[in-house]
């Protein structure tokens, strides 16, 4: 006899084997482990890494001041905050838009690779890294919201106008994909023999 629980509603079952069945409480399919969790999460993470490149290279925002159009990437935005001596905000934007996505992508990729290659790291530490990645996931959206609010408030045609840049779409997609990748990953496979 084996113990198995529904990951959705947490109801416990005692079964003969690990075959899939339908939960009597929430009617979801109960599996021993999420199906193809590593493969799906890895694919999503690779997509997110590819999206991170245009997100960093292309302009996030277009500012038009007295007819002069200036495009700025995420890093240029951080530099402009430093020029304005807003060091705290520069750090916040830099951490939220550059550091956090990078930590998320590297962290997830590291965990996935460590399942296939023998890495000398305790499972507990890998789990901790994953928990951290999961917790910081949504905070990368700050830059997208900032662009949306700025674009919404500053609309004076040629005098003063702010528009989103093409990097906004790839950045938003990257954040969403990493969140889905983390959500889809079943950490229990880290501990499976």
């Amino acid at each position: 006899m084996v113990l198995i629980s529904c990951k959705n509603c947490h109801k416990m079952y005692e079964k003969e084997n690990y075959d899939d069945f339908v939960c009597t409480r929430c009617k979801h399919k109960v599996r021993h482990r999420i199906k193809n969790s590593l493969q799906v999460s890895l694919a999503l993470t690779i997509c997110a890494i590819l999206l991170y490149i245009p997100a960093m290279l292309y302009p996030m925002m277009e500012v038009t001041k007295l007819g002069v159009n200036i495009e700025s990437t995420i890093l240029e935005g951080v530099i402009s905050f430093l020029d304005m001596e807003s060091y705290f905000i520069a750090i916040v934007v830099f951490v939220a838009s550059v550091v956090i996505p990078m930590i998320k992508l590297i962290g997830l990729l590291f965990i996935f690779i460590s399942l296939k290659i023998n890495v000398k790291m305790q499972n507990k530490t890998k789990n901790l890294i994953f928990k951290f990645v999961e917790a910081i996931g949504k905070w990368s959206m700050i830059d997208i919201y900032v662009v949306a609010i700025l674009a919404s408030v500053v609309q004076l045609d040629e005098i003063f106008n702010i528009k989103g840049g093409i990097a906004a779409t790839s950045f938003a997609l990257m954040v969403i994909l990493t969140m889905i990748a983390a959500h889809r990953f079943d950490t229990r496979i880290i501990w499976d023999e």
Binding site: K138, I149, A168
Partner: protein, 198 residues
């Protein structure tokens, strides 16, 4: 074993099955990975009151602007829905969809799910299945980013004040602060599993 199965809980981080401590109100941790284990707490009525307050505040904060500034006697304002509309106007359909879902739709539906759960638990009216309420509660809780939006408003304010000195937080921002508190509390006091009533 059958008698004790309900006293066992699985750690969803490492897959270890652990016997629950029934006589403690402290959060139990997994001995193998140190993750917090799920508890069997019941949701409190406070959650309903906070959810209703959240919805009312949400309606109110959509009326007032969040940030306003004045350039050459022209008053410029940003509202919550305005941020989505402008993205649509600038042809950022996907970004607009994400912003709309994460700061408007998910928080509203999250509060509505809590309210409907209470209505179904206290009356005989059945709007939705228990599974739908349980799943949608967790889904909208996961994808509602209103607290991130608050930080974004502060970042925007600091960015704008460097360019236009008349920039100020408007009434909508202060309503949003109270809204985020009510929203957080309604989720904190609500237990998704209690929807099943077991």
């Amino acid at each position: 074993m059958h008698k004790n199965i309900n006293t066992i809980v699985e750690c969803y981080s490492c897959g270890l099955f652990i016997k629950k401590e029934l006589n403690t109100k402290l959060v139990q941790k997994c001995p193998r990975c140190n993750s917090k284990l799920s508890t069997n707490k019941k949701h409190s009525n406070d959650s309903l009151y906070f959810a209703i307050s959240s919805l009312l505040l949400f309606g109110l904060l959509n009326i007032y602007p969040i940030i306003s500034l004045n350039i050459n006697n022209t008053e410029l304002k940003a509202t919550l829905i305005g941020t989505v509309i402008i993205l649509l106007e600038q042809n950022f359909f996907f970004v607009a969809l994400i912003v709309f879902f994460t700061i408007i739709l998910a928080p509203i539906l999250n509060s509505l799910v809590i309210i409907f759960s209470f209505i179904q638990a206290k009356t005989k009216i059945k709007f939705f299945t228990k599974t739908l309420l349980h799943d949608s509660f967790h889904f909208f809780k996961e994808w509602g980013f209103i607290e991130v939006f608050i930080i974004s408003i502060i970042v925007t304010y600091i960015k704008l004040i460097g360019m236009v000195s008349s920039t100020k937080f408007d009434v909508g921002f202060y309503i949003m602060l109270v809204y985020v508190f009510c929203f957080y509390m309604s989720n904190k006091r609500f237990e998704g599993k209690s929807v099943f009533g077991e």
